[in-house]
Amino acid sequence: MSFQPLPDVTDDSAAFWQGGVDGVLRIHRCRQCSTWFHPPTPVCPECLSMDVGPEATSGRATVQGFSVNMQPWAPDMEVPYVVAVVSVTDAPGVQLTTRLVDVSPDAVTVGMLVEVIFQHVDDIYLPLFRPVIEPSEAS
């Protein structure tokens, strides 16, 4: 797809947007009270500590809701595609809006287990998600 708006990277968001350089989905976490949070900010929303920073996750997530977009919003946009909100398995309370790939729109369900796959554009690694293929580990 050639329609590809990109985010403006800041010190706070760099680990999220560029973490994919080594294939890792990184989410902000408080080093004092261990709370995960997103979007990344310089302060823990729970205990207000500023001792926070990005931490690696497994990159796995669960689909919480989705929509199958049929409308080309820009002339060079390919449709259909699936946008979704997923909850990050290792980071309780953290959800991401993303696009699901390598899956038929008809096959997407709430509760589907997905894993991150990065799309590299310029200096950005967009965390897209695809269904987990191998059987998931018992939790």
């Binding site: 329609f3 997103h38 979007p39 919480q64 199958v68 919003w73 820009a74």
Partner: protein, 402 residues
């Protein structure tokens, strides 16, 4: 000590009233400038209030002048103050408010604080004309620049339209509670029936359930008729000090405002993806009034997308959580004019045009004043207006002067 977090020392919104309302011509591709439409609605509202230009000492708008998003807000405080040479004691224009009606809440606060006596409030859109120009109106990310702020978490994933964000909510509600497309379709069908009774509405020809179900999908489960209509137009009102309104016969009282945001300010971080800011601000509104849901004669609730109206109805308490589907099945006898809860009696934004929150307020005032020719809810004395979706919402309960 007062333990109700929503109550201050007084209900200050009762010190202000809506003394006048005005609408410009509203339509598709009018080819008029935003300022031209705004002056038309503003002068009508001032005249309707029984005031003159020189009486206006406050000015408020949402979301302020926006160049980056074509047609979304083509003029702001600066243009209108200068065009009308207003002599202002107080003014405000901006978008970081409790959704679209935030400009009204600001005006009410200014009047209650004694900073102004008569505040002109306006909201103007030229999205229809903008669409016919070079690019789609109000689509983020079509400009080529890097994206900052809240949009950066959605737009790079091609979740570029509110149809996508609301579509996700609607999908999850359908998954959890079994809401069907047919049940959701009761909302656009209702609005179209009402538009047929209002000659200022944009789409007035009958809409059948087959039409609704057969229309093309935009972002599943939302189809074409679940999305409102971009239009050109302007709404204005005058918020006055209660003891300074010239014509008390037509005054609309503000019994309570709901401006709360207690959940995440985000489309994707709320723990329950079937709830929106409507669930925050309605709690505040009900805590500030002695009126109850049984007193409400009509509701004018945001329908930028049909599903958002469901979140408002549910948040206000018209049915228990998750039970929108069966409740809506009653159709016209439930939400029609003459039904239990007459909803969006001017056709809403789905059939009337996206005046972005202010069409609902105008209509609520018209109903309470008994001026809703052809669509009047008999004996309407109490109305609820709610605007916004997702992370932002604001609402008011309005009463007829008695």
């Amino acid at each position: 000590m007062n333990t109700n977090r929503y109550l201050g020392q007084r209900i200050g919104e009762r010190d202000a009233v809506i003394s006048g309302i005005g609408r410009s011509v509203v339509g598709r591709k009018l080819g008029r400038t935003g300022l031209s439409l705004t002056v038309e609605s503003a002068l009508r509202a001032i005249e309707d209030a029984g005031l003159s230009r020189d009486d206006i000492d406050g000015l408020s708008t949402y979301p302020g002048m926006m160049n980056a998003s074509p047609g979304m807000s083509p003029c702001g405080v600066t243009d209108v103050q200068d065009a009308l040479r207003l002599k202002l004691n107080w003014f405000s224009g901006g978008g970081e408010t409790p959704a679209q009606l935030g400009a009204v809440f600001n005006a009410v606060a200014a009047v209650a604080a004694g900073l102004a006596n008569h505040v002109l409030v306006f909201r103007t859109v030229t999205e229809s004309s903008a669409q016919t120009a070079h690019r789609r109106a109000s689509v983020v990310g079509s400009g080529g620049d890097r994206i900052g702020g809240p949009m950066q978490w959605m737009v790079p994933f091609h979740a570029v339209s509110a149809a996508n964000w609301v579509g996700i909510y609607a999908q999850r509600y359908m998954h959890d509670y079994g809401l069907s497309r047919e049940q959701l379709g009761q909302i656009p069908l209702n609005q179209r029936r009402h538009a047929a009774r209002y000659d200022e509405a944009i789409f007035r020809e009958p809409l059948s359930m087959d039409d609704y179900l057969g229309a093309r999908m935009v972002s599943w489960p939302l189809g074409l008729y679940d999305c409102d209509i971009p239009c050109d137009g302007s709404c204005a009102l005058v918020v006055s000090r209660a003891d300074a309104a010239p014509d008390l016969k037509q005054v609309v009282r503000i019994d309570a405002i709901g401006s709360a945001l207690t959940g995440r300010n985000s489309w994707d971080q709320r723990a329950d993806l079937t709830e929106t800011a409507a669930h925050d601000c309605t709690k505040m509104m009900w805590a500030r009034t002695d009126l109850t849901i049984d007193d409400v004669d009509t509701v004018q609730l945001y329908d930028g997308f049909s599903f958002l109206t469901i979140t408002w109805l549910e948040a206000l308490g018209f049915f228990p959580k998750g039970e929108a589907g069966p409740w809506l099945e009653a159709g016209e006898s439930r939400i029609g004019i003459g039904g239990e809860v007459p909803l969006n009696t001017n056709g809403g934004q789905l059939s009337g045009g996206r005046l972005h929150g202010y069409g609902y307020l105008y209509e609520a005032c018209a109903q309470l004043r008994g001026d809703a020719t052809g669509r009047q809810v008999e004996g309407a004395e109490v109305a609820v207006v709610g605007a916004g979706g997702g992370p932002l919402g604001g609402c008011m309960i309005l009463t007829k002067d008695r």
